[in-house]
Point group: C2
Chain length 175, copies 2
């Protein structure tokens, strides 16, 4: 199997099935590879293709990727690998959904970003968002961020599986 | 203007026009930001959306992104930010089109990858490829890699503008 085939999902796959495929492929790709840039880059591809293999609202995902802790500024996130349109380079911990997840180290599942205090519109098309922190030894190292162009794009299934993915990334990468 | 608007290209834009937009947007995004992960991530988005705003063969681009020098192994490239399907994590300097460009520090414009000695098929769908090294003080730091699902996907216009982009990235990032 060539690498690109990891991004191919079975037709009619369920959301659980698609996430299971992402986790299995990610685990295989991370064997013997701990470079975080490399691993997050491939994971953003897996997530993007997973969402776009599913029906709406998952297929309405318009951004899937990562922010890491900015090595140059405390309490600030900096853009990592992603799939989607151009994004904000940095996000202060004090701002938006990403900042909130990085600040308190817990998942944020937001059904309507316009109702979220301090929401940052990197893309005016984004309507809902899920942000899951990647935590190593109690410290947030990065966040998984996925945006959707419709309201209520994510549910507890997304949360469950993205938290599993965050745990895998936490243990698989040198941060 | 929100960040995502950088990825929107005028309808009916020419290839030169699309590349000019990429360069202008990249230059603006890099103002005050030298983090290479962040800058390559946004650049891969700009390139992806530029190609997909153009007619075929540019719209047949199936991978646009970067490899950098692997900090853990001499004469090896490691995957950086990209848009497209899952890709090979590492590429030895001795292998394929990417390896050749990294080894001798010059652009490789390959109209038919299957005829290129030692071609690595990360994706069997890729038929042509352009690889442009990013060189700082005579040393290759990374490569821009773009694959196309049809033969002869790139020409001297792509080469000219991707070399301009490589020069901008060379001077804009801390490597």
């Amino acid at each position: 199997m060539v690498h690109a085939d990891s991004s191919n999902f079975a037709s009619g796959i369920s959301k659980e099935g698609a996430y299971k495929h992402v986790l299995e492929q990610a685990e295989a790709l991370f064997q013997g590879q701990t470079n975080w840039v490399c691993n997050l880059a491939n994971t953003s591809s897996l997530l993007w293709h997973a969402f776009h293999s599913l029906p709406s609202p998952s297929s309405d995902v318009n951004w899937a990727g990562f922010y890491t802790i900015d090595p140059k500024k405390a309490n600030q996130l900096i853009l990592g690998p992603f799939h989607g349109k151009v994004a904000c380079e940095t996000i202060a911990f004090s701002r938006g959904v990403c900042g909130a997840a990085a600040r308190d180290g817990s998942t944020k599942l937001v059904q309507n970003v316009r109702a979220f205090p301090g929401h940052i519109a990197c893309d005016g098309a984004s309507m809902s968002e899920i942000v899951v922190p990647i935590i190593v030894d109690g410290e947030v190292k990065a966040i998984i961020d996925v945006d959707c162009a419709v309201k209520s794009g994510f549910d507890e299934v997304d949360q469950l599986w993205l938290e599993k993915l965050a745990a895998l990334l936490a243990e698989s990468c040198e941060w």
